[in-house]
């Protein structure tokens, strides 16, 4: 998707995990999954604070590239064309070990299904797998 000329301003995006800054840069669009559903953010979005759930974050950079990252539950804040995505864990798609994610998913599905922790693990593994698949 080409960034059209009307977006005079770009989004300043920061994807932050608890122990490191995963990615920061300029972007034209960010898509994240909030508790209410998928949310796309374009430049000049109204200030927003929202909780996000385990899922995939898409970032279209100003160079026309697309970054995909898997995140855990966390937050998204938008203000003044600054988007920060906070999550305890976040991984860029190229950092994810697909094999390991698949194994994690299998293991999580095999263990008690009604467990909250197990379901969280399932969602986390699924998000990682989806992130890799979408990036490729």
């Amino acid at each position: 998707m080409a960034s059209d000329a009307s977006t005079d301003k770009a989004l300043q995006v920061e994807l932050v995990a608890a122990d490191r800054l995963v990615w920061s840069g300029q972007a034209t669009m960010v898509i994240a999954r909030t508790t209410e559903g998928d949310l796309g953010i374009l430049p000049n979005h109204a200030p927003l604070l929202s909780s996000i759930i385990e899922g995939v974050v898409d970032v279209q950079t100003v160079d026309g590239e697309t970054w995909v990252a898997a995140v855990d539950a966390g937050f998204l804040s938008v203000a003044d064309n600054r988007v920060s995505i906070l999550s305890e864990r976040a991984e860029m798609s190229h950092e994810i070990n697909l094999e390991k994610a698949r194994q994690d998913l299998e293991r999580a599905q095999a263990s008690g299904e009604n467990d909250d922790a197990a379901q969280e693990a399932v969602r986390r593994a699924e998000a990682r797998i989806r992130a890799v698949e979408r990036a490729s």
Binding site: A18, D19, S51, S77
Partner: protein, 310 residues
Amino acid sequence: MALSVREYRARIKSTESMKKITRAMELIAASRIIKAQQRAQAAAPYARELTRAVSAVATFSNVDHALTTEPEDPKRAAVLVVTSDRGLAGAYSSSVIKEAERLVEKLRGEGKDVDLYTSGRKGEAYFKFRQREVVQAWTGFSDQPTYDVAAEIGATLIAAFLADTDGDESGSDARPVDEVHVVYTRFRSMLSQEPTAVRLLPLEVVEGTEAPAEGDLLPLYEFEPSPSDVLDSLLPRYVQSRIFFALLQAAASELAARQKAMKSATDNADELIKKYTRIANQARQAGITQEISEIVGGVNALADANAGQD
């Protein structure tokens, strides 16, 4: 005092090998401090953004949250003491424990019972040895804490704080408390680390360091799904990130304290070696002098005997 030269040599040797060990530990600590500092720096953006978000919510909504309300009559306090797993770090653990004891005294003076939580083996050992109950102890990570550990500690302490104090211990295994304190060592610089006690819960939301007076800094946020929901998931994370911050600071302080302690141990070993070498030389010279006088004495005795025969 008068040992043989051989014994002094043995002492010099053992001091030298000890010096090698302390020197190695000093170097290891030095290289790890840099990593610990990098970790602390890497965690800073998360804490900064979280603090911004919390102050934004606090400013624009008057939602009261269980984690921010002061209990009317605090009777019980939890104290988390962050110490090291291993020794050989000078006064690091003992000074943080001393600070913790001071806090416990103060809380007791205010008529509150104290529940102890520790992180690091040294703290646990200290309280166990004195037959004082430790509600929960976490060990095995003191020089490189991960966020998972901080999250677990945070979850435990929040559960204890949110548990109903007045209710009897039915069902939940959490021990209810009215406030939560953390005692850790603040990393000021390589040379100075300072044991600090802070109150973690109930939360006092600190406004960001940037002046909150300027209206354009904190925009009017929309909250999704609702301010209270956002606060619900924001505040526990804020607590956890504060604990993570404390653990990271403590790790950097521990390594700095260890480096300093090992450096002075190495210097001390140098001194000892010098001293022993001097004494050994003296003993050697004394031995030589004695041998000479014995030989001279022997020769004289022979000469005397020969002279007597003539």
